[in-house]
């Protein structure tokens, strides 16, 4: 049984096989991501009620919150797949990790930009040293460190392993970043979604937000597959099957 699963994993994770399968999978993620994203944005930006305290400017959370969630989620994905790559020597896992980093960094950047745009009318300044914005900034630095190490080491296998280890070390820091919200409580509002028993958010706002979060996850799945495919082609550029593929074009 175990052997069968292992054989299946090895077959699926061979670059050539992955390239074929992932090509078929991308539309299944991309199309729902676009449909759901457009719908959730419409619901969030036009249908959801205006906030009685923050007015219209609260609507940026429909971008801001999913982006912040994704930036953390992607770091976890990156660390887990880097761990799989380190332990079981599966090259594909390393490629997924490497392909995820820039996407995660962009989500972190997006969360920072939208956060500061929201901060201008709310706090009267684009940047406030509030706990969550700060930890998001630190997360962005962690992504930069990962990408810098990945590109600084020339040998691809070594680069994968070294930056993978760095991602795992960084994950130890993520809970500390997360709980820093409670350690230094500053100007940011308290968590409004996690309290499931009595959400302090109106349901008409909550639904578009959650839909947007799902759309963001699907979007990430599509993009990471596209990036990983590029990575596969680049790394296997001297292999016969890639040459055949290129000749067909």
């Amino acid at each position: 049984m175990f052997k069968k699963i292992w054989a299946w994993i090895q077959k699926f994770s061979s670059p050539k096989h992955f390239y074929r399968i992932s090509g078929k999978m991308i539309p299944w993620f991309a199309v729902p991501a676009i449909v759901l994203g457009v719908y959730a944005l419409y619901m969030g930006l036009f249908v959801a009620p205006t906030d009685y305290q923050q007015g219209e400017s609260y609507r940026i959370i429909f971008i801001h919150v999913p982006a912040a969630w994704m930036s953390m989620f992607i770091y976890m994905v990156m660390a887990v797949s880097a761990g799989i790559g380190l332990i079981w020597q599966i090259k594909l896992a390393d490629m997924i990790a490497a392909a995820s980093a820039p996407i995660g960094a962009w989500f972190a950047f997006l969360a920072l930009v939208t956060g500061s745009l929201w901060g201008k009318p709310m706090w009267g300044a684009y940047w406030v040293w509030d706990a969550r914005l700060t930890s998001e900034l630190i997360l962005l630095f962690l992504y930069f460190g990962y990408m810098a190490l990945q590109s600084a080491i020339e040998d691809q296998r070594t680069a994968d392993k070294a930056s993978g280890l760095l991602a795992i070390v960084g994950v130890v820091n993520i809970p500390i970043i997360h709980y820093s919200v409670e350690w230094w409580n500053t100007l940011h509002q308290g968590a409004t979604v996690a309290k499931f028993d009595k959400p302090s958010m109106h349901i008409d706002m909550l639904i578009p937000l959650l839909l947007m979060a799902i759309a963001a996850k699907l979007f990430y799945a599509a993009i990471v597959l596209i990036r990983a495919r590029n990575e596969v082609l680049y790394r296997e550029r001297n292999r016969q099957w890639v040459k055949e593929l290129v000749e067909k074009l």
């Binding site: 962690l142 810098a148 080491i153 392993k161 070294a162 280890l165 760095l166 070390v169 500390i176 350690w183």
Partner: protein, 223 residues
Amino acid sequence: MLKAFYHLLARDLRLAFRSRHELANPLIFFVLVVTLFPLAVSPSAEVLRVMAPGVIWVSALLSVLLSLDRLFKQDYEDGSLDQLMLSPNPLVILVLAKVCAHWLLTGLPLVLVAPLLGMFMYVPDEAVGVLMLSLLLGTPVLSLVGAIGVSLTVAVNRGGVLLSLIILPLYIPVLIFGANAVDVASDGMSVRGQMLFLGAVLALALSLAPLATAVALRITASR
């Protein structure tokens, strides 16, 4: 195993004491950076007292960061790191010995010179003890976590900036709690919580960082 630990520690200390001038450099850097702040900002006691914990801690951080280079670089270049990795002793123990030596040579002097900087920056007398204690608990973490970064970048040419990019974000929790402890102590309040946190981080780093460092060395330094 203990013998190997002891011998490697003694070797690193002996090597360091043969080039004493290099030994003092991180310490001088530490004092120098702190001295820049009164010149750049203001010599007034009120301003400096507010900034003191942060300035001293950030300077300590940078000083440790700059000294990290000597942890593995020279051993990597002259090949003794390969010998260490070939030795039958567990690499984790050897890494721990090297990190211990590094801390004794850079972290401990920072702790000892801290009262002088406290005086420069008008840290109240009752907070100087806390400053030293926070550095005593915090600087070993800096050496331990730094070792991971050094081992990842040891084979990279001109890895200095890369090293700081990787390591500084990981230093942030220590910085927050170390500086905050001094700040709180200056106001005459209890720093039990901050100290317990620093102690917990030290325990965590002491148990996990050498493992990560050993794995990293096996990845990057094997030729």
